[in-house]
Symmetry: C2
Subunit: 277 residues, 2 copies
């Protein structure tokens, strides 16, 4: 692992690091924020998964999370959203290929050799960061935006013992039945819709739910709401009697202006679920 | 109108009043809390509609609303849930007849002569209290519990210009498709399902929504959740991109212990929507 940069931020350190990923078979870059409390011992971790077109950098620079993480003593991890490099398959569309890994392990050509973002986020990157930084593996939470909200919700429900809480900003809620999902799950996973189901947060919510609290925020003016299908997850949460809140925030769109507006509440939500508030 | 009782409460006055209702053709009783601020001029009003089996008294004594209303300078009105008296039709079941008016105007025998709770709450009682008490007709919000949450939501969406905000505790969300609804709407309104639709908050949400914010809380351990159908309203709110929050609160049941636990947040929510927070 090499250090790309380290920058003081709210009394802690915002780092960017690169490493050779065996899972994705390419070099991968991630951001990691250590709060001031990390100087005194391992700190809890909030994972932040980003959306379509993003790298590790967007949320790191635009979500305004570091100040709140510092206040609550949380570390933040900002992974990339796909494999990278000249020999990695891509597509002309912004919503397939690079920047659009969708947090799945591709089984289909030409994606299978590199597009393994599920295993990267679930296994390889945790092993790396818990080994290299003062982070408490027993205290984890996860959030994300749009495609990253989808990733956060599906990972949390698949690994409920790992995460105290899960939240999402304008998540893709029902990819098996959306323009944002059918295309990508079909490309990466093929025609087997059973395989898709493991990556649909509404279906997972209906099937198993989540042990901890769930917080979802979506803007009422989200320009992609028809693709996000918030109503499907909202219904699944309520039908399951899932501890949590599904909120529609008035006037907000899909942008990081929205994410930043509610970041304080999301960080506080996770800190509270960890007993830190 | 006669004064049944007036009791000091959080610096203001909790009153109970009775009057001859022309709409319900019987004597009706209601509770009304005036905060300390009412000594200085008209104050905003939060209507609280109660659930099955309740009178004007349950929420007045068990919801813990007066302290928060005093803090925000709001009045509270606690209407009864049905017509009363020996000549009023009733049923042996707890969920039909007295204590179960369902906030509709009955058209069917034997209910039609007295069971006109919609008009009572929407017209007669407002006219009475705005005339008799220092209340600001331009500043109104509405909430309720269970059957009363159903009433609050349906009234708010029918009279959007009247209410700045609406909230509900464990509301009956989809009566046209629930054991709590089919029986009562059938009895009071007859077989015309078109008439039922005007009293279903999920259908109204899908059809028209609400101009202001909406807050709903339901306990994850609500023993009547299968009859409340929270998933239907949650889906309708999200599908409409309705400004609001639909929350499932962990471990809470259907009781007033639940209502009281979240009353502070509901009163603050309404005060905020009125610009008082």
């Amino acid at each position: 692992m090499k250090t790309v940069s380290e920058t003081a931020s709210f009394g802690g350190t915002q780092g960017v690091y690169a490493h050779q990923s065996s899972v994705c078979a390419c070099e991968m870059t991630f951001g990691l924020y250590l709060p001031p409390a990390a100087a005194y011992g391992p700190v809890p971790v909030l994972w932040y998964l980003s959306g379509l077109t993003c790298t590790h950098e967007n949320a790191m620079t635009k979500a305004g999370a570091q100040g709140w993480a510092a206040e609550h003593g949380l570390a933040l991890v900002f992974p990339d959203t796909s494999p990278r490099g000249d020999d990695v398959a891509d597509d002309e569309a912004f919503d397939l290929g690079k920047g659009a890994g969708f947090y799945v392990n591709a089984t289909e050509k030409p994606w299978a050799p590199h597009y393994r973002m599920w295993d990267y986020i679930a296994q390889e990157l945790p092993d790396l960061v818990f080994d290299a930084f003062p982070l408490d593996r027993e205290m984890q939470a996860i959030t994300g935006h749009s495609m990253g909200g989808h990733g956060a919700l599906t990972l949390a429900m698949t690994y409920p013992d790992r995460f105290s809480s899960v939240s999402a900003f304008s998540p893709i809620c029902n990819p098996v039945d959306s323009e944002w999902g059918i295309k990508q799950l079909g490309a990466y996973l093929g025609d087997d819709r059973e395989a898709w189901s493991a990556h649909d947060s509404s279906l997972l919510m209906a099937e198993r739910g989540f042990d901890g609290p769930v917080l979802c925020d979506t803007g009422t003016k989200d320009q992609f709401a028809d693709r996000l299908k918030p109503e499907t997850l909202a219904a699944a949460m309520a039908a399951r009697r899932q501890h949590g809140a599904f909120r529609m925030q008035p006037g907000y769109d899909h942008s990081y202006f929205f994410v930043a507006s509610f970041m304080e509440e999301h960080v506080a939500f996770h800190a509270g679920a960890m007993g830190l508030a």
